[in-house]
């Protein structure tokens, strides 16, 4: 489903001709429905790698294939469509719209492409998902009225609303306490199974990573199975 072939990423730096190399020669294959954790210390490039996979960034070298399609060859509008329909994002910060209710926040991605799901279908799915994550009673609440864990659950549901096949979670528990973190971890694993969504999770928490089927470590720009450096 997802294949990274020799992906590299470097940033230009004023006065530095070589540039700052964040990712080097990353090759990775992820099958459908699998869950993968990418661990590594801060600044190791986890978020960069997720951004590249999630089409928010482009690699400096190598190829990213999604369902066999080279993402580098797609136009911005096609990438936006893929992000909307095929990929779900969960960020460290929930990035909920404070002006909207929980339900509305979940429905935000459906506004980008109304042909994908009908409004009625979207709403039913949003309520269903929110019920599954224990937020049925909070549909009309604003993000400001929720706890951190609840907000992140809303963010997870928002990421799943368009039935994506790939869910990317970038430090989803980074801003949560231990209990809330555990809840989110369990939720992600459960959704990975029940929704058959491929999950790639970036975290520096080994405890969270251990919930995933596969754990990869990113260090010095390179990616390797945990313990196989």
């Amino acid at each position: 489903m997802l294949e990274l072939i020799n992906v590299a990423k470097s940033y230009e730096s004023p006065g530095d001709t070589v540039g700052l190399c964040v990712l080097k020669d990353i090759t990775l294959k992820v099958e459908k429905g699998r869950s993968v954790a990418i661990v590594g210390p801060s600044g190791s490039g986890k978020s960069t790698l997720l951004n590249i996979i999630g089409t928010l960034d482009r690699p400096s070298g190598g190829r990213v294939l999604f369902d066999g399609k080279d993402l580098a060859k797609l136009a911005d509008s096609e990438l936006a469509r893929i992000r909307n329909r095929e990929i779900g994002f969960v960020f460290q910060l929930h990035h909920l719209l404070p002006q909207c209710t929980v339900l509305e926040n979940v429905l935000v991605p459906t506004l980008a492409d109304k042909k994908h799901l009908s409004p009625k279908e979207s709403e039913e799915r949003a309520i269903n998902l929110l019920q599954r994550v224990g937020l049925k009673d909070h549909l009309l609440h604003r993000p400001g009225e929720l706890s951190g864990g609840q907000r992140q659950r809303v963010a997870v549901v928002r990421a799943l609303i368009n039935r994506p096949r790939l869910l990317l979670a970038d430090e989803p528990t980074g801003s949560l306490d231990e209990r809330a973190s555990q809840n989110i971890a369990e939720l992600l694993v459960e959704l990975n199974r029940s929704e058959q969504v491929t999950l790639i999770l970036a975290t520096h928490s080994m405890k969270l990573a251990e919930n995933m089927g596969r754990v990869l470590e990113l260090n010095n720009g390179g990616l390797a199975e945990k313990g196989k450096h």
């Binding site: 990035h95 909207c100 459906t110």
Partner: protein
């Protein structure tokens, strides 16, 4: 959920930010809509004034110095099936009972009830039109009188014959009456009646028409006729003029067709055969057009021209002051001049022959005066050979041949003659008195009509009578033939579409909407920039949201659309609120126009009026402009990568140095603009006047662009590499200024543009008093400007002329007076809000002004020579253009710049259609344009052309007096006192010039004020930028606090940072403005308000500093440690 719902929720949620945006939109829209509604209000006011001054009048017949029978009105009313009102209109002077208050140039209107039927709801005379006077409100206010008070009214006494003819008496030019004011006429009583398209209320005095007719010996006569329009506007000029042709009678043309008394017998026998008719004119001379028709009316018509000669001399003997008649030749017995009489032959009567001892074949010398300007007596002589001597019998003793010369015809003896011709009483002998007693004005000699007309024909006519034998022709038949062959317009009887012209004058008037829009442009721009900044700050605040939306699959376009929807809602709401606020803005502007800015509208009342369409246009324009501004700001905001937005990376962006190409863009812009400015100044170094001003303004604008380009370059450059570490707070502040180049540049640009406009405009104010003594200045070097109600007939430059006017000569010896003839029309000055349709005309002797090198021409029709370009005094040669020949129906004209460009909407080389007093259309070709002058308001043409086109306009009613500064007051006193009865109003020429300049200066003041308000908004923008910058960096500042910086030190650092931007804006604006106002600064008449300009710049600087300090204090208030924790 839909995008719209999301947008609405965002709108409500971020209400604080949005409120700021909304207020800025509201301000922008309010100013825009308000300015347009000012235009509506002025147009509405002009329309109201049109109705007030014309009532229901559709057409008007204005005969001016000609008089027709008032009964013509009834006939025309019947023919046209409408109301027609005759009016007897004269100029007058009125004073209160003790003479302490006085109004010159008032309109005295003899009216009857028809007049009020045309235009008023109420008739202030009631049923009693026998006597009394009604003053209109402005006149009553001027005199401070009310109903029941006494006033003294002096009215010009119309003359039978033009007063320019020396034989006409120049005494009793006016007649005074004491009245008790019967009432005051307001708008409902037709108190604003005026046929001139001018919003300034006239000074009208209404008296009963019949009373006025009797007092002026103009029984049943009028000189204005108003025709009311009907509902279907069927009364057209063509129809009305046809009706005149159908209805008019000889009396309407000033003609009288009378039967001569003596019946039967031949001429020689002293009879008139089968009976004779004689056609005479009340104006003495019969107009040429009528004379031709009269001669052609019957085969036996004989033209007669009788003239007063000073002397008839044969050898060394002479007879003084006699009549000589020129007569058409005829084979019939109705003329003395047989077909075989030659043009150099003369027939004399027995009396004269005996008096001077003349005999057949002797030579007889005639001495006589001819008509010349200023009643100057130009004496000429002609010699004839005596062909025959008539016995003193029959028609040879026909005193009827003498026209009713005023001052001659009605006196008992020669010594009572009242003419302006100097009569030497010593020359009048007993025998002359006897002749007068016995034969009155019976001509003593007869010549051919051709010979007579060669000597005495003038612009008033070439016949004094036409005689017809009634053989086979009835009186009515002849009258019909004369009228049938004549055009009523040729004697001033034609209607003018006064209402249509008034509407046109209002429609084409200065568009105050556009004017105020222009004046408010900077204020609107400042509001838009403010709105843009607020909106951008709002969007920036939500950059992570934008990043999230991009991350979940929203394309940048969709995000932009979402934010644009939000912006649209704000724009619509703001525009609605702004439109409402715009009405307040309009009221404020109208209040300003009726108080501190009165000069801009000449003190006219402006009534509030807002058209729905205007409000809609204003609101729509507000929405569209705001949306464009929002769209422009959004383009950049949403173009950033989602990952940057998601992690709030915006604040780090400044670390990335701009690409070299971007940095150099500013440098290249600066270099190109600066070079262009220099090249422009070098190439156009020789430009003058408005062209020079334009060049300098463009150069200034280019330098402004150069300054902004340089600022951008410096900011970009400083963003990049730093070769040295920061060693001071100021240095740190300066470096901080480079963080947000766009924001910093917006602040610098806004301030610089505002200062540029305010300073550049302010420096263009002119002091009318500067160099006003110079002949090339706006005063023409004249110290005094004067206008009289009653025409002055004599030359005030000569002792004789002054004596004729009864002026005390001492104190007036050294003065020089340029006298101008005046044909009243629309005021074509900047004091008139209407577009002048028929401007007033002035007749001037061009050589008088040329000789003095008076005034300066900004443009003439001929290409200027190099010499003329370099020497302004040579511009005096432009006056020669008034004598240039541009064809039969083209009259060269010169006018003031404001008159031609603004009041008439014309330029040099263009033409204006005009009608002379006989209804003939001719074109005024503008051949020259004067720099701001006291002649604003009228067009000048050569006096020769003036008298040819308007022969009935007697004398001079405008005066330019050159007197030394020390004597000016004394001269004013002497002339005012001596010519009180002429209603002479004298004002210092500088005062008049100042009145005109006041209009322009008022507009400049309005612009400055609105520009100043714009700058306040601009500096508020600066405050917002400061606030935003500091809030963005609270973490940093907290860190600085943590490492030991005090709050004051941080405030100073922020202050340095933004103070540098403020100073940069001030410097760019001031330098560019100084270049732009180069011509104004070097102009001798420049009235650069250095103090106020300096104060404005200082105020802007202080305002900026205050905003910076306030924003800094606000942003740094509270605990910074919280910010540090968040960081």
């Amino acid at each position: 959920m839909r995008l719209l719902e999301l947008a609405k929720k965002s709108l409500v949620f971020y209400w604080r930010t949005n409120l700021g945006v909304l207020l800025a939109v509201m301000i922008g829209t309010a100013i825009l809509t308000g300015a347009l509604v000012v235009g509506d209000s002025v147009r509405h006011s002009l329309a109201m004034m049109l109705t007030a001054r014309l009532g229901r009048t559709q057409l008007a017949l204005v005969a001016d110095n000609r008089f027709f029978s008032a009964g013509l009105a009834d006939k025309l009313a019947q023919e046209l099936n409408t109301i027609a009102a005759p009016v007897l209109h004269l100029r007058g002077i009125v004073a209160n009972s003790d003479g302490t208050k006085r109004a010159n140039k008032i309109e005295v209107l003899g009216v009857d009830d028809h007049f009020f039927s045309v235009g008023a709801d109420r008739n202030p005379f009631g049923d009693d039109f026998s006597e009394g006077i009604v003053l209109n409100e402005p006149l009553a206010a001027r005199l401070a009188v009310a109903a029941g008070d006494e006033v003294v009214l002096r009215i010009e006494q119309p003359s039978l014959m033009s007063r320019d003819i020396p034989i006409t008496p120049d005494s009793d030019l006016s007649i005074a009456f004491r009245f008790v004011v019967k009432g005051i006429a307001g708008g409902a009583e037709f108190g604003r009646f005026s046929l001139k398209a001018n919003q300034i209320p006239p000074l009208n005095a209404y008296v009963p028409m019949q009373w006025l007719q009797e007092k002026l010996d103009r029984t049943a006569q009028a000189n204005i006729l108003l025709a009311a329009g009907d509902t279907n506007e069927s009364i057209t000029v063509e129809r009305a003029n046809e009706a005149i042709k159908k209805c008019w009678q000889p009396a309407d043309a000033g003609l009288e067709l009378r039967s001569l008394d003596r019946q039967g017998g031949s001429l020689e026998a002293g009879g008139f055969g089968d009976g004779w008719l004689e056609l005479r004119s009340r104006r003495i001379f019969i107009d040429e057009s009528l004379a031709e028709a009269a001669i052609n009316a019957a085969d036996n018509a004989v033209g007669i021209l009788t003239y007063f000669v000073n002397e008839l001399r044969c050898g060394d003997r002479s007879a003084p002051y006699s009549m000589v008649t020129a007569m058409g030749q005829s084979a019939d017995s109705n003329s003395f001049i047989a077909m075989d009489i030659q043009d150099d032959e003369i027939i004399i009567n027995q009396w004269l022959a005996e008096d001077i001892g003349a005999d057949v074949d002797d030579l007889l010398e005639l001495t006589y005066f001819i008509v010349s300007p200023m009643r100057k007596l130009e004496q000429q002589k002609s010699t004839f050979r005596i062909r025959r001597i008539l016995p003193m019998e029959g028609l040879a003793i026909d005193a009827e041949l003498m026209p009713d010369f005023p001052g001659l015809a009605d006196v008992e003896n020669c010594r009572d003659w009242d003419t302006s011709i100097p009569i030497d009483l010593d020359k009048i002998s007993k025998r002359d008195e006897d002749y007068w007693d016995k034969f009155r004005g019976t001509p003593k000699a007869f010549i051919t009509l051709k010979a007579g007309q060669a000597m005495w024909a003038n612009r008033y006519g070439n016949l004094t009578a036409v005689r017809y034998s009634l053989r086979g022709e009835s009186k009515e038949n002849i009258a019909d033939k004369i009228l049938g062959a004549s055009d009523p317009a040729s004697v001033g009887l034609y209607f003018q579409p006064v209402r249509a012209r008034g509407i046109k004058a209002g429609d084409e008037a200065t568009d105050f909407g556009q004017l105020f829009l222009g004046l408010s442009m900077f204020l609107i721009a400042a509001a838009l920039v403010l709105m843009g900044l607020l909106f951008v700050f709002g969007v920036e605040n939500r950059s992570e949201q934008v990043g999230m939306l991009l991350a979940v699959g929203f394309g940048p376009k969709l995000v932009r659309r979402l934010l644009l929807i939000e912006g649209s809602l704000l724009a619509v709401l703001g525009a609605i609120a702004g439109t409402a606020a715009g009405l307040l803005y309009t009221r404020a502007m109208i209040y300003g126009l009726s108080t501190v800015w009165r000069a801009a509208v000449s003190g006219s009342a402006i009534y509030f009026r807002a058209k729905t369409s205007t409000l809609f246009v204003g609101a729509s324009a507000g929405v569209i402009i705001c949306l464009i501004a929002i769209w422009l700001t959004l383009r950049k905001q949403v173009s950033r990568p989602a990952r940057e937005l998601l992690v709030g990376d915006l604040k780090w962006q400044f670390f990335a140095a701009a690409p070299v190409s971007k940095r150099r863009f500013g440098l290249w812009t600066a270099v190109i603009a600066a070079v262009a400015a220099v090249v422009l100044l070098i190439l156009m170094a020789a430009a003058e006047g408005t062209a020079a001003a334009g060049v300098f303004f463009a150069a200034g604008a280019l330098l402004l662009i150069a300054g902004l380009g340089l600022t951008q370059f410096l900011l970009r450059m400083l963003t990049g590499r730093w070769s040295k570490p920061v060693t001071s707070l100021a240095g740190l502040g300066l470096r901080n200024a480079t963080r947000r180049c766009g924001r910093s540049l917006a602040v610098v640009g806004l301030l610089a543009c505002g200062i540029f406009l305010v300073v550049a405009v302010g420096a263009n104010k002119h002091d009318p008093l500067a160099n006003a003594h110079r002949r090339d200045s706006g005063t023409g070097g004249f110290a005094i400007f004067g206008e009289s109600t009653i025409a002055v007939l004599h030359d005030l430059n000569t002792r004789t002329g002054r004596e004729s006017m009864g002026l005390d000569d001492s104190g007036l010896e050294d003065i020089e007076v340029v006298q101008l003839r005046v044909h009243e029309g629309d005021d074509a000055s900047c004091l008139n809000l209407n577009r002048a349709q028929t401007p007033s005309l002035l007749g001037v002797q061009p050589e008088q002004l040329k000789r003095r090198g008076a005034f300066t021409f900004t443009k003439t029709i001929q290409p200027r020579t190099k010499k003329a370009t370099s020497q302004r005094s040579v511009f005096g040669a432009g006056w020669d253009l008034l004598n240039a020949d541009y064809g039969e129906d083209v009259v060269p004209a010169i006018g003031d710049y404001a008159t031609i460009v603004w009041a008439l909407g014309k330029s040099v080389g263009e033409t204006i259609e005009y009608s002379d007093e006989k209804g003939r259309t001719f074109r005024l070709r503008i051949v020259g344009m004067l720099k701001k002058s006291i002649l604003q308001g009228s067009l000048l043409i050569a006096e020769d052309e003036f008298v040819r086109r308007f022969p009935s306009e007697d004398g001079y009613r405008m005066f330019l007096v050159d007197a030394s500064a020390e004597k000016a007051d004394k001269v004013t006193g002497i002339l005012s006192a001596g010519l009180t009865d002429f209603g002479l109003a004298l004002t210092p020429a500088t005062t008049r010039l100042a009145q005109f300049n006041a209009v322009e200066n008022t507009y400049l003041s309005i612009f400055q004020l609105l520009g100043g308000l714009g700058l306040i908004l601009g500096s508020l923008g600066l405050g917002l930028v400061v606030l935003r910058n500091v809030l963005d960096r609270r973490g940093e500042l907290a860190m600085l606090r943590a490492v030991g910086f005090g709050k004051v030190a941080l405030k100073r650092m922020v202050f340095y940072e933004h103070g540098a931007l403020c100073l940069c804006g001030l410097a760019c604006g001031v330098v560019a403005a100084l270049v732009a106002v180069g011509p104004a600064l070097s102009s001798p008449a420049a009235q650069v308000p250095y103090l106020s300009e300096g104060m404005i710049i200082l105020a802007i600087g202080i305002s900026g500093a205050v905003w910076i300090w306030l924003a800094t204090a606000f942003a740094l208030s509270g605990s910074l440690l919280e910010a540090l924790r968040n960081e």
